[in-house]
Symmetry: C2
């Protein structure tokens, strides 16, 4: 969203290519070279099937024998060839001036000594020719807005465009997150599986998506890295909010290492590090997307003070409890606000923070507005069970977040089909929606933590402000 | 499900009444006495509108002036009258031989001294006539299988019948849980909001639903109680699994007390107490329903050892990490099992526990079967991203849980519409389904904790077995 950094030209060739070459394209259904081509042709740019033994056309595109023989503009090569063939393919890509490649094959650094040698050889060729490598050992990536689907996932074409960039160490988890976003009515600006991160890692991806107009929040799924400091620096430099999900608090043995060749490392160290460098951390895939929806679709909060309005006390208590555990605070409302609320709703059930209206009513939106306008409140969270006869206070809330310059989150529950239309209107009005009290409270907590981490007043104190999710240890500072 | 205890005859009049009287029934739409009647008439038994000033019929039923004038069998009175009128109404109910009543009105113990006096007077009348009171200050209850909807919730008629009894201190949270269950394709045997628990509290509800044939798991939402010991004893006596969600780890101030008149108490004490009395605790509404789905639809696990089979490493690592944090263990598989797996899938990505097949394939179900048959495994958890061309291994898994006598949980992600039908078949085959790796792992963790808590071998040690979620403090033992 922001342009504090120039977009990396190299990764632009990867994620926004002029044209695509599918190396190892095949007319045999089920083969990776067939599936890659089937997905690639949806892209609104030239797509070339490359195979020395290919004849005629594939999906209406003429086979070429080598990338060096392509007569046209191609930035990106999808390498659908076995691992050992990769260095030669990259050599040809370099000759052809191709600046980016996806390597799907496994059997590299995650697979012992021989694999490590193969990966080193691959990176050497890529570095010589300035080629950005996604992978190896990845399911690829998807940019829905460009119909650019460099992935073989069943259903990849159904993932909707949105403003969350999903950057996952594991391609499988990247897809989990993308499908999950869709299931929750959200979309992604990109879904990226980094795999072995031969030369494109978290830092490069964060830099790129920070400069990507389609992206308003970046989420990271991390198993482990050996360049932690660079990742953290990229988080700090990013104007676009970054939220991190570091897996592996308990011992997952050698399973993780066998996956993407990464050691999972010390969880607490990661958590403290991310906090210190301005990226809130979460502990589950749905929390990750919820935090992104809150941060990516709201004004940046000025502080961690949450004003809660609820139409039912029970969910309000859950939310109140949970926000405080997630790093937020519930300030007392000003006397002015309490007076306004009393005027709107004489005899209100509970007029402090949380404000409990007892049930939804026509004035519910006005109560939310009064709380949103309170100077002590930085973030607003609203809960109400859906009542078909009243609906959500959409007109009153429309534009409220922008006007007061604060995030306004909304959570509700009810009969899905009855509330779906109203929920869509709410979200169109700039109000992120959450399906459970806990998930809304956790999203508000992520906003609160983000605000604390980005508050200039406490920047020097830095980690001291972080009472919610870190134990205060600094990350290694050796450079 | 089990019949270790006789069902309470009194609560049977509440939750399984012969007939229903709606006291304060009204023909004015929007009034509680109208809405209650509109909901009640769906019940497959006699329903009487009671109002001294009522004339003619309401929803085709003749008005009667008082419950004492009803010519028919009525167990349950729905009191749609203001609080101060309640004692007189109950007096008449007693004369009429009505054994149960729901009091919706607020303004009782949750509302200061005068309210407390009103509640005492109400309970005195109820005790004199042996009337079970649900409430006051509740949204009521719903028993979908009987079309018995003694609640005013918008959409209550859409809540499907299922095997989970939801017993919530807050009626609002009860409805949140019931709607949430529906949204997740599940149903409830009952949704109960206890409110002020004047004489029907958690203990009475647990006893009743333990004896209810429709119920296979009981979930509790608790803000606070003053009869903790009785609640815990009821948990221990229940053959039906009980799972508890205790709200209020952080300070929620006087807001909770203003809600249902309960102090939220010491969270750690509750957690340790439930553990000691055999009820695993969870920390969110969706975790509560997930644990109930796992416990209510599976054979009881013999121990906490989880065998994990995954078709993608990334989600497998998340699950492995999370299960261990949730109280489960991942044992090494026996050499026999590993051999079997190698035979089924030579060159498998990772053949230890978790078993990682790299992607779904036709033999995936056979791998799951091999792990399920491993003597070291008590609980099986399967993850795979949905691939339309392969689907889920439904035929292989059908009946597996029953045959091996172990829970088999399944989690997946993909394009919702594509996988919905297959998921329904899986669940029909006795395999509970979860939408995220974390939620599946947490459900497996709840099964593992339940197994540890109910392992006779450690029953004496009791709380010592609980390393996952309690700090070992005993609950008060004064009797």
């Amino acid at each position: 969203m922001e342009f504090g950094l120039c977009p990396s030209v190299t990764l632009q060739q990867l994620f926004d290519p002029s044209g695509v070459a599918v190396v190892g394209a095949s007319d045999t259904e089920g083969k990776i070279g067939y599936e890659a081509m089937a997905n690639a042709v949806a892209f609104d740019g030239p797509v070339y099937p490359v195979n020395p033994s290919g004849e005629g056309e594939l999906f209406g595109r003429e086979f070429v024998a080598s990338v060096t023989e392509i007569d046209g503009d191609v930035d990106l090569a999808l390498c659908c060839v076995p691992g050992p063939a990769v260095p030669d393919v990259l050599e040809e890509c370099g000759e052809a001036g191709i600046g980016a490649a996806v390597i799907y094959a496994s059997g590299f650094a995650e697979a012992g000594e021989k694999g490590e040698e193969l990966q080193e050889a691959t990176v050497a060729v890529a570095d010589e020719h300035d080629i950005s490598l996604l992978g190896p050992n990845t399911s690829g990536f998807i940019v829905p807005a460009l119909d650019l689907r460099c992935s073989f996932a069943s259903g990849a074409e159904e993932i909707p465009a949105g403003n969350i960039a999903v950057v996952a160490q594991s391609g499988g988890v990247g897809l989990v997150l993308a499908f999950q976003a869709r299931r929750q009515g959200r979309g992604v600006s990109a879904e990226v599986g980094l795999g072995n991160r031969a030369n494109v890692g978290f830092a490069e991806a964060i830099e790129y998506f920070d400069g990507d107009e389609k992206t308003d929040a970046i989420v990271l799924h991390i198993e482990g890295t050996d360049d932690g400091r660079r990742v953290l620096e990229a988080c700090r430099a990013s104007d676009t909010p970054v939220i991190a999900y570091k897996v592996g608090q308990s011992d997952v043995g050698d399973f993780a290492e066998s996956h993407t060749g990464a050691l999972t490392g010390d969880h607490e160290l990661y958590t403290a590090g991310f906090a210190q460098y301005g990226a809130p951390t979460v502990d589950a895939t749905d929390d990750l997307l919820d935090a992104a929806a809150a941060l990516g679709n709201s004004p940046e909060p000025d502080g961690p003070n949450v004003g809660v309005v609820t139409a039912q006390a029970g969910p309000g208590i859950i939310i109140t409890d949970r926000i405080q555990r997630a790093g937020g605070r519930l300030p007392e409302l000003t006397a002015d606000t309490q007076e306004t609320i009393d005027e709107i709703l004489p005899g209100i059930t509970y007029a402090d923070n949380p404000v409990d209206t007892g049930r939804p009513m026509p004035a519910f939106g006005d109560i939310v507005t009064a709380v949103a306008e309170d100077e002590r409140v930085d973030i607003v969270l609203v809960y109400e069970l859906f009542e078909a006869s009243i609906g959500y206070p959409i007109e009153t809330l429309d534009g409220l977040a922008e006007r007061v310059g604060k995030p306004v989150l909304f959570a509700s529950e009810g009969i899905e089909e009855d509330l779906a239309e109203e929920r869509a209107k709410l979200e169109a009005a700039g109000i992120p929606y959450f399906p459970t009290p806990e998930r809304a409270a956790d999203a508000a907590g992520a906003l609160a933590r983000y605000a604390k981490l980005h508050d200039d007043a406490v920047a020097d104190g830095g980690i001291a402000a972080l009472d919610a999710d870190a134990d205060g240890r600094e990350v290694s500072r050796d450079e």
